[in-house]
Amino acid sequence: MTLLEFARGPMLHFALLVFVFGVIWRLVSVALLGFRKHYSEERNSNDKALMVGTATCGLRSWPHKEFIGRTAFGEAVGYGYHIGLFTIVLLGAPHVIFWQNLFGFSAPWWPTLPGGLITVVSVLTVVLMLIATIRRAMHPPLRQISNFDDYFTLAILYAIMLSGLWAVLGGPGRYEFILAAHIISFNLLLIWFPFGKLMHAFYIFPARFVNGYLHAKKGAAT
């Protein structure tokens, strides 16, 4: 078995298993703690609270005007690399093929962007990630709260991005080898996903919903 076959085969399957079961376990272990019964007379009905909770899922994506002056830069960078990542993963031709193979379906309607454009997006995304990393290391609060998880997650993402760019731009080294490195980094991302902060992709909407909902019961600000 070549390294590339290993990366595309057993390792990928192992990584997918860890990812799926890890994510499920992490979500279930929280849900198992149970939701508490509340006894206080609520200000708003359950229906209204459900509505506000749902709205909070979307509204929290944009900072309140009271905060935007202080957070705009960080958020712009954050939006930037997320959009970049999603564009590459969902609209880059090699990836689209990969998803179709992985899930075993064929989707000729799935649009892709030209390779050159994806390369530009990739470079921009790497630059934005660099800015995010530098901020993390320099901005006092970020520096204070950052831990292994934060840097390790970024490191895995860099490995994916740089190997991907390397393969596309034809850097030195055998193509299969570079591609294997790309896929191995992706596998690492899958394996690390349930353990660290990447879980935010799954937690973000439930967390926003629950807190929006509970605040709405009290009529508190969301």
Partner: protein, 437 residues
Amino acid sequence: MSTTATQAFAGAGAAEDNRTAEQRVEGAMSAFARGFGATVAMNMESCIHCGMCADACHFYIATEEAKYTPIWKAEMFKRAFRRESGAFAPFFKILGLKKKVTLEDLEEWQELLFDSCNLCGRCSLICPMGLEVAELIEIGRRGMYEAGLAPKELVDRAAQQAETGVPEAVEKPYADLLKEIGEKHGVDIVLDKGKADIMVCAPRSDLNRNPSSVAAMVKVLNKLGANYTFRSDAIVAENYGYYAGSNGLQKTIAKRVVDQAKKVGASLVLVPECGHAYYSLRWQAAELMGETLPFKVRHVTEYFAEQVAAGKLKLNKVDGLPTAFHDPCQLVRKGGVMDAPRTLMSELGVNLKEMYNHQGYSFCCAGGGGMNDIERSRPLRLKAQEMKLREVDDTGAKRFLTSCSDCRVAFDDAGEHFNWDKKTESLVELVADNIKE
């Protein structure tokens, strides 16, 4: 952190706490874990470490010191959760990714959990993940209390209030004080009536410092012909158990009020101008007692606004003096009394000049959460307050109102320190002074 800070903190009888360090940390963590349901655990699990919460907290904004980042204040508990009870606790433990939390760590965190947080909840509104950051800090405080690490000022007051109903040694019983206030201000104060529809409390800080606000509230109640009473056994509105982070003391203190209200058959308990009293009675008492309370809890501004809406309370228009209003966090942002103060002000024709950060987003007075009572936190508090006073000045207001006695204590102290040209006045007093005959 310096040893002096740590020593200063030795609260909750730390000196005579003869449990081992291990047992105290254990106590902290199990108390912490008790506060857990799925919602809190989700908050614990989903911080993305984006650092934005720092940009909501007046203590960080005023000092730019990284340690005041809100989520950092809960760090020890977040770490312990991930290491001891999170979904992958053994993994973090074995790989040593999360260090064990020690008593020294907790001692170091006393300052962050108690001396530099008002539990104001502003940070919970900025978090892109939607986390209840302030609640994590509050639960952390409850853990600290169990470890014997809550500040002595707060613990002593809470213990005394739980035992006697009054959070401090007093020369004169509050019931007598209340009677005197009635005589001095020429209002009849109903005390210890056997049955009443409404039970009323008073803020300790108003009884001592601003008795005219208490008289004002009573004057309006009398004017409305309300069937109300104070009860000697439950006059104080504040709940120092909430500040100190003690579930047990908070519950005992709340129970005193609840029992008296049940005894007089009240269908309504009226919380005076005190934000924390409101939040702890309105949103936490029933939860701590595990039962639905047989009465409603309303803030005095809420009740008056209801009376205005019902046409029972009519008010004169006041002068056109530009006026700013400070939204008490526990009442407005966290408590949900969003409109009542503004309803009253608009009925009074107040020429309201809003601060840039107002209503749900206002900055805390910086005295809340027990910080008014922690003398050594004053320098930090003043830094945050300097910012707040400037924000009030920026409105061009000449009159400054609020509806929380604790906020007034904080503003009075800051005003004196900075030679501020404004006095912080009670909204209820303005109402009482302008009842349409």
